[in-house]
Every structure is written in structure tokens, then in C-alpha cells.
Symmetry: C2
Subunit: 239 residues, 2 copies
DNA sequence: AGAGGATACAGTGTATACACTGGAATGCAA
DNA sequence: TTGCATTCCAGTGTATACACTGTATCCTCT
């Protein structure tokens, strides 16, 4: 009475989207970079078909954007969008805080504390990875799969932009200090405090990032590409 | 210097995902229903390839679930999941409220009021459609594209479950009354009141829906599928 | 008649092949 | 040298074809 199904081959499809997602999240695939189906297919040893499917899935997640000409690129976010997503992240995380405190067992808290302690002295890249894991694990405790999913998507989208800040600013040590406070609040069953910390965590990082971005993009603001090209041209002609 | 692209044929791809999404949202494709690639392809007059891409995109949106056997079905949500999503909706909508009030022009407000008035006496199906549009238009005013997108996804996911409530309960008239109040709050530039109304709107509807669902699912709660299968088997054997 | 195994079928995953497009390079004329 | 038309090519969208698997059917044997 019920229909059936089966697949044909190794079916490493999920792996393709996974690899691309990680590549984008970790910044190896830069925002705006074109994603050529044939190249990806060759690199992964598959045909274009499963690559296209992965690309469309990532597009639905917002990580990839299909230009009207059909070409896929890593989604590039405008500063206002990054700002919006940081605020959204703060909202979602603080929303989960009470549930996290409610359902976390001492074992969970111990595991998280261990994770945080292990992050205390790490280079920026590794720290960013662990930071992502830490927050994901935290969200998992809320027992709100859809909210956690949405939050994870937001985290993934803003991560390429956050990493820059971690590398350049003193962001890492401040964030670590706050992580320790979060664990303490969690151990003390203080949901309100955890929510407050998560809000502060996001908003402080967001402001630092925006300041950095503003400083970085000031000179390039309007005619950035044009002036850059003009300078290059002048040099070339002057020689 | 820059790469180029082009497509081959009519490229009605976006239409495919769109049609499926609408079909799911409007309940024409019921939760749990298998989505056979070949059938869809034939119905839409295309091959399976673009259908697969649409399916994967919808899966990334959460509207479609791929079973481990590979078969795609319309995602079926457990009551707790619907509950979680209603709460999330309330959070997101109330978050947007201040921004909506801030950026809405008198023209926007008039257009929304007209929309609401036109909804006053409609059959359940048409009203549900307009209701969806109304909320989407409201979100659009917040000038927060990503939050609005996320909210739209949530609305789409819960809509099949909400429609039942609208059909059965007196939900429609209560919701309409609240819609009018929202427009008034919007016209009065009262962001806090709008946020309060949106929260109340969602939470009341959510409770009504849950009560309805609980009543409806009481007998099938635990071993629903097993008992269903057993009954079917019994009928079949008894005949 | 009932249990056990071969076979057909439905359905999926993937690769290959073809059609089509827009920009880049090239060649030609002025 | 410059302006323009033509050709070439990179890249995409889609269809067809094939490989594979789980389930259901049917046939056989006891």
C-alpha cells in the first residue's frame, strides 16, 4: 500500500552541501566569489547534477545567491544586513536562554565548561571554530530544534564577517571572558542572567565589528573600484 | 575579466519551487504526503532534474523532508514543533513591531487598512490567503529583509496547521478584530502596542490551535501509526 | 492451502549529452 | 589606429539514459 524508494550510488550528496557550507562559513570561499558548477563537480569527483542540488539548497539557506544571469556566488552581505543578522542572533539566543537553563543537566554544564576552558588560549582560526561549536551546543540544550536551526543559519551567515573581527581586534579575549560568565550563570540556574549575557555578547561584538567595518570601508565607500582602477591605470601609463 | 553565464531554455525553475511551496502552504499537498519526482515532473511538463532542485531548496527551507530511503515528503510537524514555531513567530513579529511603526508611511497604513477591511467577510480559504499576505506586507515595512524572510518561512510552515483551526474555530473573527486594532496602533505610531497585539495575536491563536489539536489527536497519540496499521490489517484480514 | 524464493516494478541517484546565451577575442574595413 | 561585425568559448539549464535498491507480486514446492 505504501510506496517505496531506493538510491543508486554512494550518494555522497549531503557531503557536497556540507563541504560548501563549511567552506563559506570558514571564509575559504569568500563572499562574492563565483561558484562554478563544473569546477566544484570536478573537485569533488561528481557530476554537476548533485552540485546544482547542493547549490540550490544553500541558496535557500541564504549562503549562496543566484545572479539573474544564472551564476551562483557566495552571498555577499551589506553592512546593514550583517548588523540586522547580529541583532537577530541576539534576539534568538536570548529567547532560548531560559529553556537552556531549564533543561541543562550538570553533565551538560560540565561539558560546556570544559569546552570553554579548552578555548582559553587558541589562535584566532581555531578559536572561531570552537566558538561556533560552543554556541551550537548551547542552543541544542534549549530543546527548540527549529529556533536552534534558525539561529545556526544566522551564525553561519555572519561568521565570515565575524572572523575578520576576531583576527584583528581584541574580540577573542572579551568573548572568552563572557563565555566563562555564561557558564557560571548556567551553573547557577540563572536564566535571566544568561539571557542578559547573550544579549550583551552579541551587541558588543556587533558594535565592535561595525566600527571595524566602517573604518575599513570608509576610503573605499563610493567610487572605490573606480579610483583603485584609476590609480592602477595611472601607474601603468606613467611607467 | 569577469566570467559570464547564460541559461538554456525557458528556465521556469523558480516557478517549480513556487508552485510546490504554495501547494504545501495552502494545504493542497498534505503533511506527510510523498512527493514523487516523476509525477511532479510530468505534471509540470519538465524533467526530473529541475524538480529535484526545487525539492532540495524546499528541504533547506524545512517544507520538505527527505526520508533516509531518499523519498521526499511534505514535512509533517509534531504538535510540539508547531507550538515552537508559533512562539517563534510571536517573537519575530513583536521584534519587528517598533521598526514597522517607525518606517510606515500614511500611505502604507492606508493600504493595509484597506486590505484588512476587504478581509472582513470572506470564506475561510480566501481569508487565510489574505491573512498571509497581510502579515507579509506588515513585515515588509520593518525594512529587515532577513528577519522578514525568516518570519515568512515560519508562517509558511505553520500555515497548513493554522488553516484547519480557521475552518473549524471562530478564529477568523477574533483575528480580524485584532487586525483592526493593529492598524489603529500603527496609525497611532504606537510600536509597543503593536508589539503587544502581535504577541497576543500569535499566542491566542496558538493556544486555540493546540487545544483543537489535542482534542483531535487524543486517540491517536502514542501508537498512532501502529494502531492505524493494525486497524487496516484487521479490516483487510476480516474481509 | 501455506511458506519460501525468484522476478517485475517503482523510484531514486548520477552521469552524459545537447541546446542555448552573453561576453571576449579576433579579424576586417575605414 | 579606431569602429564594427563575426566567431569562439565559458558556463548554464534541461532532457535522456543508465545503475541501483527495496518492495510487491507471483510462482513453485511441500
Amino acid at each position: 500500500m505504501e510506496s517505496s524508494t531506493a538510491n543508486g550510488r554512494p550518494a555522497q550528496r549531503p557531503a557536497i552541501a556540507e563541504v560548501l557550507r563549511e567552506g563559506i562559513r570558514q571564509g575559504m570561499l569568500a563572499p562574492g566569489q563565483p561558484l562554478i558548477q563544473a569546477s566544484i563537480a570536478e573537485a569533488m569527483g561528481v557530476s554537476r547534477i548533485p552540485v546544482r542540488e547542493a547549490l540550490h539548497a544553500l541558496a535557500a539557506e541564504g549562503l549562496v545567491t543566484f545572479g539573474e544571469d544564472g551564476g551562483a556566488r557566495v552571498t555577499a552581505l551589506a553592512p546593514e544586513e550583517v548588523d540586522e543578522l547580529w541583532t537577530l542572533r541576539a534576539l534568538l539566543e536570548s529567547h532560548m536562554a531560559p529553556a537552556i537553563v531549564r533543561t541543562a543537566t550538570p553533565v551538560d554544564v560540565a561539558a560546556l565548561r570544559e569546552l570553554v576552558v579548552a578555548m582559553d588560549d587558541l589562535d584566532a582560526t581555531t578559536w572561531s571554530d570552537r566558538n561556533f561549536t560552543f554556541h551550537q551546543e548551547l542552543h541544542r540544550l534549549a530543546d527548540m530544534p527549529h529556533v536552534a536551526d534558525a539561529t545556526g543559519r544566522v551564525l553561519t551567515m555572519i561568521e565570515p564577517y565575524s572572523r575578520v573581527a576576531v583576527t584583528v581586534l581584541q574580540e577573542q579575549s572579551e568573548a572568552q571572558a563572557e563565555h566563562h560568565q555564561m557558564i557560571d550563570a548556567l551553573a547557577a540556574d540563572d536564566g535571566d542572567e544568561l539571557a542578559r549575557l547573550l544579549l550583551h555578547h552579541s551587541h558588543r561584538a556587533r558594535k565592535a565589528l561595525l566600527a571595524y567595518a566602517a573604518q575599513r570601508e570608509k576610503p573605499a565607500d563610493r567610487h572605490a573600484v573606480a579610483t583603485e582602477a584609476a590609480r592602477s591605470l595611472a601607474d601603468h601609463l606613467g611607467a
